[in-house]
C-alpha cells in the first residue's frame, strides 16, 4: 500500500470509530443535552474524517474541492443545529440531567 492509501484507510477507520462513538453516546447518555453532545460532535468528527478520506481518494481533482466545501459546511451547520435543538429544549424549561439528582448510573 502506498502512504496515501494508508492515510485514507486510517481516516476512514477514524471516521467509523467516531460515528460508532456517537451512536453509542446517543444510546447511553441520559438526557437531551448530553445526547446532543454525542450527536453533534463525535458525529461531526466522524463525518469530517470520512470526508477527508474521500478527499484524499479523489486526489487533486474537482470533487476534492467539493469535498472540502462539504467539510466546511459540516463545521458551520452541525454546531448550529445542535445549538438550535438544545436551545429549544432550554426555552421549554427542560432541566438538564445532573448527577446530584439521581446518583451515578
Amino acid at each position: 500500500m502506498t502512504p496515501v492509501e494508508i492515510a485514507i484507510v486510517a481516516l476512514a477507520a477514524g471516521g467509523v470509530f467516531f460515528a460508532v462513538v456517537a451512536a453509542v453516546g446517543v444510546l447511553r447518555l441520559p438526557d437531551l443535552y448530553t445526547r446532543s453532545h454525542a450527536a453533534s460532535k463525535s458525529d461531526t468528527l466522524g463525518a469530517v474524517l470520512t470526508l477527508g478520506a474521500a478527499a484524499l481518494a479523489f486526489g487533486t481533482d474537482v470533487p476534492t474541492a467539493k469535498t472540502v466545501l462539504l467539510l466546511l459546511f459540516m463545521f458551520l451547520t452541525n454546531p448550529t443545529a445542535a445549538h438550535a435543538i438544545s436551545r429549544a429544549a432550554y426555552d421549554q424549561g427542560i432541566e438538564p440531567w445532573t448527577t446530584e439528582e439521581e446518583g451515578k448510573p
Binding site: 460532535k41 445542535a82 445549538h83 438544545s86 448527577t99
Partner: protein
C-alpha cells in the same frame, strides 16, 4: 392623509443614535396636538427582538424605556400644555421571536389597536433587528393596516443614502468574489462558458445580497483577520480532535463518568461575528455545548468537570479574541479569573 394628524401617537423604541431626537419630536408633536384638541398621548413601545427567557432579559428594554420617559418629561417641561400630554411605556413581544418587519408591524399594530392609537412616529435609524434595514418595510406594513406613519425629521450624525450604505462597493466586491469562486469550484473551473455564466450569476447575487449578507464592509483589518483565522483553524481542529478522544473515552467507559451542568458566563468578545465564532467553537469542542447566548452571556452545557474547567480557563475565548482583535487582546483575563475578581469585590 386627510384631516389634522392624530393626537394619539405610538413611537417604537429601540437603541439608536437618533432616538433622543425622535422622542423630542414626538413630544413636540404631542404638545402641538394637545393645544388644538385638549389632550394628547404618546406611547413608547419596545418590541423585544428575541424571546426573553427570564426577568433579567427585560432589564435593558426597561432601562431604555425609563430613560425615554425621563427625556420626554424633560422636553415637555418647556411646553405650555404640559399637563395635557400623557406618556405610556410598554415592552412588547417578550414571549416570542420577532424576525421580519412584518412581525414588528404586527406587534406594533396589535399594541396600537389595543390602546386606540392611530399615528406612528418612526425613528429613521430604528433597526431593532441588528443591521438589516427595517424602517421602509416596517412603514409599508404599518400603512397597510391603516395607521398613519411618519418618519421623525431628525438630523442624523452620518448622512448616508438609503440603499447603498457605507462600503457598498467593498461589500459588493467581497460577495461577488466569494460567489464567483464558489461557482467555479463547484463547476470545476471548466471552460469559458462557466467563467461567463459564473460572473453573471455572481454579479446578480452580489447586487441582490451584498447589503444583506454583510453587516460591516470589509476593511483593512479583514485580510489580517482572515490570516489570523488560518492560524486559528488548525488550533481549533487540534482542540476538536483532542477533546473527541476524551469524549470517546467517557462514552465508552463502562461506568459513564459524566457530571453534566449548565454553566453561565459573560464572554469577553464583542459583536455578532466574534460571538458566533466563539459559540460554534465551544459547541464543536466536545464536552461543551452552547445552549443559549443572550447578548454576551453564554449558557454552556458541559458534560464533564474537566471540560468545564477547560472552558472557564478560556483558551478558546482567548483564541477568538486573537482572531478578531489581535495579539494584545489575548491578555484579557480568562472567564475564571474574571469571575474570581467579581467574587472578591
Amino acid at each position: 392623509m386627510s384631516g389634522p394628524p392624530s393626537a394619539r401617537i405610538l413611537v417604537p423604541v429601540g437603541e439608536s443614535i437618533t432616538l433622543r431626537n425622535t422622542v423630542a419630536y414626538a413630544v413636540r408633536e404631542a404638545a402641538t396636538r394637545a393645544e388644538a384638541e385638549g389632550a394628547a398621548t404618546v406611547h413608547f413601545a419596545y418590541p423585544v427582538t428575541g424571546r426573553v427567557a427570564d426577568q433579567a432579559g427585560l432589564e435593558e428594554p426597561r432601562a431604555l424605556l425609563e430613560r425615554v420617559e425621563v427625556w420626554a418629561r424633560d422636553d415637555l417641561g418647556d411646553e405650555a400644555d404640559a399637563s395635557n400630554v400623557a406618556f405610556e411605556t410598554a415592552v412588547r413581544a417578550a414571549d416570542e421571536y420577532l424576525f421580519s418587519p412584518a412581525d414588528y408591524a404586527r406587534t406594533l399594530n396589535e399594541y396600537a389597536e389595543e390602546q386606540g392609537l392611530d399615528r406612528v412616529i418612526i425613528d429613521p435609524e430604528y433597526t431593532p433587528a441588528g443591521s438589516a434595514p427595517m424602517v421602509q418595510p416596517l412603514e409599508y406594513e404599518l400603512e397597510r393596516s391603516g395607521l398613519t406613519v411618519e418618519e421623525a425629521p431628525v438630523e442624523r450624525p452620518t448622512r448616508r443614502a438609503r440603499l447603498v450604505r457605507g462600503g457598498g462597493l467593498a461589500k459588493f466586491a467581497s460577495v461577488f468574489g466569494a460567489s464567483y469562486l464558489f461557482y467555479l469550484a463547484i463547476g470545476g473551473f471548466a471552460g469559458t462558458f462557466d467563467f461567463v455564466t459564473g460572473a453573471f450569476s455572481a454579479a446578480v447575487t452580489a447586487a441582490l445580497l451584498s447589503q444583506i449578507s454583510l453587516s460591516d464592509a470589509p476593511d483593512t483589518r479583514t485580510p489580517v483577520r482572515l490570516l489570523r483565522f488560518l492560524v486559528y483553524a488548525p488550533f481549533l481542529l487540534w482542540e476538536i480532535a483532542k477533546a473527541n478522544v476524551t469524549m470517546a473515552y467517557v462514552v465508552l467507559h463502562p461506568s459513564l463518568p459524566i457530571d453534566p451542568k449548565i454553566e453561565r458566563f459573560e464572554a469577553a468578545v464583542w459583536g455578532d461575528l466574534p460571538v458566533m465564532t466563539l459559540a460554534n467553537s465551544i459547541t464543536l469542542t466536545p464536552g461543551t455545548l452552547t445552549v443559549d447566548v443572550i447578548d454576551r452571556e453564554f449558557h454552556v452545557h458541559s458534560l464533564t468537570r474537566s471540560s468545564r474547567e477547560d472552558l472557564l480557563a478560556g483558551a478558546l475565548e482567548r483564541a477568538v479574541r486573537f482572531v478578531y482583535y489581535g495579539r494584545d487582546a489575548m491578555a484579557i483575563a480568562s472567564p475564571e479569573e474574571r469571575r474570581a475578581e467579581v467574587d472578591d469585590e
